[in-house]
């Protein structure tokens, strides 16, 4: 294809997206579109399955049977959502094994929030309330993204996740209404998870060079800072309602702008965790890699059995 042809295809492609048409896997697409989508969608998928780990740690210790089944179902959902997202990514011509390989070798990233430890039961509340709350803001916007399989996966995920944040908020609420010890536990979890949750929206707009392209492809509907602001504005009253304090001395309502002013994020910490030096980066990867390696003989066995069965069938037919 000549450069002029590619350019005209690209223009037509961008025009389709601008008209709100969806792009489907077999459609022509610019190489950059394919690569960006593989990167973002797999990163999203990896976040789901690494996200199973901190909460998964608490399944065996959940304080009641009701909490235990809710947490199990939630962590399982995350596995399911990872699966939906891997499947959607696979339509772009990459296998799940290759994607795992990228995760296990550190080539692919996942959301940094899961590199923070879940230390108390209240952290399970905070993760559901804040982390899922932040994730939903991002995900709802993605339901209208331009790549069909990604948009469809997001619709299903958003529908299923609607209970996740409620689950977390309910846990936190119960603690906030409980004994002094329980309330302190809830406040401590909020203190530790507040800032990392704000970091989930990514670097400040000024440091986010890909925003314009992502907006065009509808991978983003709003900028990082706009989404972060939306999260703060919706979460502060939720904390106030149950008597918890957001750990930001600079937080105050700005009457003029109609939203909260807030303090500066510790961007050094942000980059440190992104670069792989957060509190749990190594542990999380070790857990994923060992599940994968310990599972190899199982996956091989199932495949070998399937092949033998197939052969038997063929022999019978002959």
């Amino acid at each position: 294809m000549s450069e002029a042809q590619i350019k005209s295809l690209e223009e037509e492609f961008e025009a389709r997206i601008a008209r709100d048409e969806k792009i489907e896997p077999k459609d022509w697409m610019p190489e950059k579109y394919r690569k960006t989508h593989i990167r973002q969608m797999s990163q999203h998928a990896h976040s789901e399955i690494v996200g199973m780990l901190p909460e998964g740690n608490w399944i065996s210790r959940a304080p009641s049977l009701r909490r235990k089944v809710a947490l199990l179902a939630k962590v399982q959902d995350e596995g399911g959502h990872g699966l939906y997202l891997y499947s959607a990514t696979e339509t772009l011509g990459i296998t799940r094994d290759e994607l795992f390989e990228q995760l296990h070798t550190g080539k692919a990233k996942y959301s940094s929030i899961f590199n923070y430890p879940a230390l108390t039961w209240a952290d399970i509340g905070a993760i559901g309330w804040l982390v899922d709350g932040a994730a939903i803001i991002n995900q709802v916007a993605l339901c209208g993204t331009s790549f069909g399989p990604y948009a469809r996966a997001m619709v299903r995920i958003c529908k299923e996740e609607s209970f996740h944040q409620r689950q977390g908020y309910e846990i936190t609420l119960k603690l906030a209404q409980g004994t002094l010890e329980q309330k302190a536990m809830a406040q401590d979890a909020l203190n530790r998870f507040w800032w990392p949750s704000l970091m989930m929206f990514g670097p400040a707009d000024a440091d986010s060079p890909n925003t314009e392209q992502s907006m065009k492809w509808k991978l983003k509907r709003k900028t990082n800072d706009e989404l972060r602001q939306q999260f703060i504005d919706q979460t502060v009253p939720q904390a106030e309602l149950i008597g918890l304090t957001i750990p930001d001395p600079d937080l105050k309502w700005n009457e003029e702008k109609g939203c909260y002013d807030s303090g500066e994020i510790d961007w050094d910490e942000f980059w440190q965790v992104v670069k792989g030096h957060g509190p749990c980066n190594k542990e999380r990867m070790k857990a994923r890699v060992s599940a994968w390696e310990n599972g190899e003989w199982v996956r091989d066995a199932a495949l070998a059995h399937a092949e033998k069965q197939q052969e038997k069938k063929l022999n019978k037919a002959v």
Binding site: E24, K26, D27, W28, Q76, D77, G80, L83, Y84, S87, E90, T95, R96, D97, A153, R156, E160, E296, R299, D300, A302, L303, A304, H305, A306, Q309, Q310
Partner: protein, 94 residues
């Protein structure tokens, strides 16, 4: 061995009376496992009464590059639609 379980497409009938609809895909070593996995992955919330699975490689898909010749010719065959025909106003339903 280092081989991946093949990819399967999953179709689910939500309730009797409705058609099977494409729900997504998954990996499984064989058809039986694909059915079980589909049940575990795609019907956790009571979404189905019947499941079809088909190995993805067995699906033949049309090529979007041929869309013009495949689908556009149908666009101007308006006489296939009821609105093409003029009826007197007195006839309310036909």
């Amino acid at each position: 061995m280092k081989k991946e379980w093949p990819l399967w497409e999953v179709f689910v009938r939500s309730k009797n009376g409705l058609e099977h609809r494409h729900f997504g895909s998954l990996h499984a070593a064989d058809a039986e496992m694909a059915l079980e996995n589909a049940r575990d992955v795609y019907t956790r919330r009571n979404e189905g009464v019947s499941i079809w699975v088909v190995e993805s490689k067995n699906i033949t898909a049309s090529n979007p590059e041929h869309n013009a010749e495949l689908f556009e010719p149908a666009q101007d065959k308006v006489y296939r639609h009821p609105t093409f025909y003029d009826l007197p106003d007195e006839i309310k339903h036909m």
